[in-house]
Symmetry: C2
Subunit: 345 residues, 2 copies
């Protein structure tokens, strides 16, 4: 969490409707609060759009809106999430994240100090991810028509590999790798919301994932599919991939790592950690004979240091995800009908 | 305004928090309400991102969030606005609009019929603009934390010309062309909000502008700068361009067309039409010797049929916009400090 604020902001300064006017107040908002955090030649042009060089023939395009509450949580904030979320969506196509847009919906009365903290955090996260934030938009809605601030980012990445990464490329025999333990983001946010206290720290796993992914591709691992485990968690991601790719997955429950504080919080709140959101975890489907080499690559990055194999793609014809526990009992994973944790990202 | 709804939607069906879960309800929302309106190979893949071909070396990237109230207004709705707004931002760089993303922030309790109407409208507007909506995101916030729905679109366009279009390219001697009369969008929305009635229809000018712009470029007009006249209207756009380009503009008030209903509404509400938002109007800066040919090109398109010259770039050193009336009196145009019309787009 970035708590420092690089600009001297009066404590009682808040967002006014006029900040959304497109006039003088909007200009001041951009100049004082937004541009200082994103220093690149495109945003400085002050156009409504950015003209960008990209010599590749394929590009990847993605977008996400972020409505998380609270705005600041253990291990991160909405600003980091807005950068890493879109960076990760691009990375899951094997793309190198390049350019981001940022659109803010501010609620009248939002403290300028809060905005300054979030923008500072976005600036640092963009720099850490090697992306340039090149264009944006700011709107203001009346008090009671928003919730502090909502952030949309869209992103463009360049494709530097010849693979077709996606559910359609998953094959029987593929092993399923996971990049670390699950449930931290969702439970860190819930703990903050519900003012729960645990033994030991419980921080969100919120992090950019493009570096280990690009390293897998550099190492010529034939990655068949990648998916980050955001809303709906591991279970939802696997069910979606099984259905989209028309494949049957076996997953061993004991191989899915869950840290003590997450287990404790899930128990207390009656939640299934398999469905809890992550913001820095992914699954990768790779040919079995390359799995060991893939794990060796992932081990080099702290964010994926605890990667392991959790299952495999079977020959079965029914698209489904079968979870096996240590006693050999099996159960089918399903999508949740509704929502465990609203506004978790 | 698209009032027809292509899907049978129960009248009392509304958005629930679970529609934002990423689970089964989200899938149903996408399948029933969103995908049917955007039929292309990318959105059908159901990834979090779209991998796109684009062989050009330069691309243009833009984004806007739309928070207009009411959602439906005379001459358009938030869905059309969300497509045309980003299409026009791309067009103002002289780019051909190609791909759009769409991110929805839905308020719990929003009527599914409303959502269906807006999505149908977006689908038609995308088709009319020749763009593909290829990726998106959906979030749901609790009742009282939004206002029905907010839409973000981001867009990618391809650059097929060698010009450098922008405020920095404006030169003394350039003529300033406007593509039609001003103030329709802002006053149509205000009339709806305030339940005002006028003699004769007052419809928003909301429309895509890429075709006449691309025709100007095809005709080899050396367009120096383009700007659509959205929030803040003609006056704000000109002041911004004068300051960014460090140029002095003279504009003749009598040459700026304003229709009777807009004049009447502005008078009634005490608003200056020069600052009222448009969603289908732009200014173009072109070399004087090409102005007549440019007007002939614009005359071929109904949306720009009433284009005319309203002023010129002077030799003066002070970046400013000087408005001359029919008596020869001059006044300086300025940015508004705050906002005339909140949530107009």
């Amino acid at each position: 969490m970035n708590t420092e604020c690089p600009l001297p902001v009066a404590e009682d300064e808040t967002v006014r409707l006029g900040h959304g006017s497109g006039g003088e107040l909007t200009q001041r908002l951009l100049r004082d609060y937004i541009y200082p955090h994103f220093d690149n030649p495109w945003i400085a042009q002050g156009h409504d759009s950015a003209t960008l060089p990209l010599t590749n023939e394929q590009l990847v395009f993605s977008t996400d809106s972020f409505v998380i509450t609270p705005l600041f949580f253990p291990g991160g904030d909405i600003g980091e999430l807005a950068i890493y979320g879109t960076v990760n969506d691009l990375a899951m196509s094997g793309a190198r994240p390049r350019y981001l847009s940022c659109s803010l919906i501010l609620e009248e009365g939002l403290s300028m100090q809060t905005l300054a903290r979030v923008m500072s955090s976005m600036g640092k996260a963009a720099a850490a991810s090697g992306v340039q934030l090149v264009t944006g938009d700011t709107k203001v809605v009346e008090k009671g028509k928003g919730d502090g601030l909502y952030i949309n980012t869209a992103g463009i990445g360049s494709v530097e590999h010849g693979l077709s990464i996606g559910a359609h490329s998953i094959l029987p025999g593929d092993l399923i790798l996971i990049s670390g333990d699950i449930g931290r983001h969702g439970m860190a946010v819930m703990a903050k919301r519900e003012s729960l206290e645990f033994e030991g720290p419980l921080l969100s796993d919120c992090a950019p994932l493009h570096e280990p992914i690009l390293a897998l591709l550099d190492a010529e691992i034939s990655v068949h599919c990648l998916r980050d485990l955001t809303r709906g968690g591991l279970a939802t991601a696997l069910v979606e991939l099984a259905e989209t790719g028309s494949q049957q997955f076996y997953v061993r429950e004991d191989d899915i790592a869950i840290c003590e504080p997450v287990l404790g919080a899930c128990e207390m709140l009656g939640l299934d950690p398999l469905y809890v959101a992550n913001e820095g975890r992914f699954v990768a489907f790779v040919p079995a004979q390359q799995a060991e080499r893939a794990l060796a690559v992932l081990a080099q990055f702290s964010v994926t240091a605890n990667s392991r194999v959790i299952g495999a793609v079977a020959d079965g014809r029914t698209p489904q995800v079968i979870l096996q526990n240590s006693l050999g009992c099996e159960r089918l994973l399903d999508r949740l009908a509704g929502e465990q944790l609203p506004r978790i990202c």
